[in-house]
Assembly symmetry: none
Amino acid sequence: MTQAEGVFMSDNTHRTLSHVLRLRRLGIDTYQEPVIYMRNDCHVCRAEGFEAQSRVQVALNNHSIVATLNVVTGELLALDEAGLSEAAWRLLGARAGDAVILSHPPVLESLSLVRAKVYGKRLGGGDMRAIVRDIAAGRYADIHLSAFIAACAGDRLDLAETISLTRAMIDAGERLAWGRSPVVDKHCVGGLPGNRTTLIVVPIVAAFGLTMPKTSSRAITSPAGTADVMETLTEVELDVPAMHRVVEREGGCIVWGGAVRLSPADDILIRVERPLDLDSDGQLVASVLSKKAAAGSSHVVIDIPVGETAKVRSREAAQALSHRLVETGRAIGLTVQTVVTDGTQPVGRGIGPALEARDVLAVLRREADAPADLRERALRLAGAVLEFSPEIAPGEGVRRARDILDDGRAWNKFEAICVAQGGLRVPSVAEHTHAVTATQCGRVTAIDNRRLARVAKLAGAPRAPAAGLELHAPLGTVVKPGQPLFTMHAEAPGELAYALDYIAAQPGIVRVEAEP
Amino acid sequence: MTQAEGVFMSDNTHRTLSHVLRLRRLGIDTYQEPVIYMRNDCHVCRAEGFEAQSRVQVALNNHSIVATLNVVTGELLALDEAGLSEAAWRLLGARAGDAVILSHPPVLESLSLVRAKVYGKRLGGGDMRAIVRDIAAGRYADIHLSAFIAACAGDRLDLAETISLTRAMIDAGERLAWGRSPVVDKHCVGGLPGNRTTLIVVPIVAAFGLTMPKTSSRAITSPAGTADVMETLTEVELDVPAMHRVVEREGGCIVWGGAVRLSPADDILIRVERPLDLDSDGQLVASVLSKKAAAGSSHVVIDIPVGETAKVRSREAAQALSHRLVETGRAIGLTVQTVVTDGTQPVGRGIGPALEARDVLAVLRREADAPADLRERALRLAGAVLEFSPEIAPGEGVRRARDILDDGRAWNKFEAICVAQGGLRVPSVAEHTHAVTATQCGRVTAIDNRRLARVAKLAGAPRAPAAGLELHAPLGTVVKPGQPLFTMHAEAPGELAYALDYIAAQPGIVRVEAEP
């Protein structure tokens, strides 16, 4: 064996035979999963016994990641070359021609803890730390993440495990500090299209004088996340120093949380949770509270919409979730106030980033046709946040919030926040629209949030910011044949056609029943 | 939009907009997961909103699969081209330049049943059929398979669910018919290197006059599968008509099961089960029995080796597994007899295809130094199979099996089967060997099956058929310094060197302890 073929690396405990290949950029995007491409007949695969789907440790410049192997049988790569997926390329900061050192990854001991959880055992604090540390370091393959998520789904995490998971997730990432108290926050557990109250609550609270540095997510399974909606109005990809400057000046901000690397294990889990679409009280609580604690919040209001097709389907489920949020918050030093709200139908009219932004602007500008339900929800939540202030008596919050909205202070503050984040923009408008109409006389008796959200996604939301739909017929509306129930918006004709196909195949997304 | 860019496909219920790209072969092996590669700026991704990790329906010649999208940002593909992973290429029977039709896949309704199982609900027969049908059709992504496996792991499938899963897996593939009864079979639940009894059991049973059409697997994570060992002696890639001709003439065969497509959902689940390393009695039972039933067997003996480094680690676990195998067999019309055996060390001397074949030949030819443990295990299992015959009284099987082996009938039958399958070959011999010796006096007190298997793989097995190792010192052997513990065999000097490096870094694979 020549020096070029193999090098020995030493550490205190054992030596490992490693190998070198030169990097070639293939430009393959596997989303966030790191993948390495090697010839099946290269000396590394032959000597190490690597095969398709093997996990391979890839080291460059004293930094290493674990990637999944896809072997190449054709002429895509030379025998002494390796390719990386774009995610792996970024993680290693690679350049074409760099020499990477390849070896078997260390055995992932924490997977035995995941297996134990799959078999129904309880996990302790140290167990959760070991699992979350390896997840945050990118050592789990997607199938391992999926097994962990399935093992914790439903009610399989008890309160103590939920607290351990939350702590482990906070410890695995950065934590912001604001040097003042209280630092307030709000969150909605989700499942309700159009529920974009954050963009109204933050300016009300900041105008009052409380500090509210809000980090929001992009859509996970929904047609729009708060960050997606805000992005149609201003910049949201601010780094930590930029975020500090905005909060220093305006008392609040609304930025994308992904840019500040809070609770990175949560981001990795969410990537797999999304296509699995699995609910888990324990993971939901850990995800929400770890992000809030890492963002430096001390007090948080959590909106729990309840409805048959919302994420939380019954009052009892909402109460159980509320209890777990409050208790976990207490354990990690976070004051949590939950607000159970109506989740039977979408909020406002728009579903999709730009369409939801339009609703928000109408409320903030006090336009005559602004959606009243969005306004009332936002006031209720803003009131709850304001009551964290010692200056506001219990029960007084909503009235104070209404004053700030109605006299224009909230709109002025929102404009100022947008300017501080990079300038206020006008949301884009879709080129292609199509009205879906009622086929009979009657009253709207049910709206399926999940299928309606799916329709908006098929139309292109949130990737296409102007895509989505506008709902014209909330619950109780009396309609005639031909009257529009909702209007589809799309940026591409193919997407519009596909959404319409789905609607045709799934009658009753908005249910109209003849009146007796 | 031009005709080349989009076509409408119609069926009874709805229309779907589809798109066409030309195939280019990239030669990327993702193991069995179907992956499609497309430019992110191609018209299909733009019109359909496809992104990295999107699931895409790919149709060619009236056949369609669902593949995971990896988008390509570089020059790997032209704008009107798509690439496929080798697995997807094979599934579609593609040729370079073929035009594939791309669209969104239909919504996978059966995933809601997987979610229900994750949440702890019981699945009925119809639920299992729906899930398994979609798995067999390749509609599940790996993370969906992983969630399903985790939801069923440990003891989360009860007996009724195990039976439903087994039935669903049988129904999802081909089923062979032999027009006679009994049709007997044997299986080992695995984890024990060198346990190559099948090649001895089949000729004994066929020589007696029972029908035993054996389909075997190639190695998945082990240094040799039964099909790999048989392949060093004769052809194993027989199609169903050829298999019928051999069984018609000789009463038995030993062929590779992969060529006959039995229980295809099982093959897909195994691909994800391996790297997860999750044990599940229910899935193991469904996997084994669905393959046997699909192969047309009516009676099967199942070998359950028990040992610390075998798959089943305790007598209690073996008993629970045995009960479930027998009861599930009863429900699907298969008579199951289990045999619990010693799984504390490898069987015979050889580990690796040709070396294991040599052990088998030595037993069949009654050579003086034939491995006694392999012979005795094979006789015990053959005896259990023979007792399925109404002509053999309980307790008489092993004696009758011994007679058939000792008077040369088994060897004659084995030769005849090999001739019928394509001719008897002489296994190849490795060019490079190296003895690994004891470094101290003492007794062999433990052998790590898993690490020993790894050594044989590093030496080149099963890809290099003559590679592997010969074990000279089974448990209890008293050794002196310099006495060989095992001999490495390799076809290439580099592989030999690499296996020896691993051995040097991993002391105690064969543990020698000084006697007091």
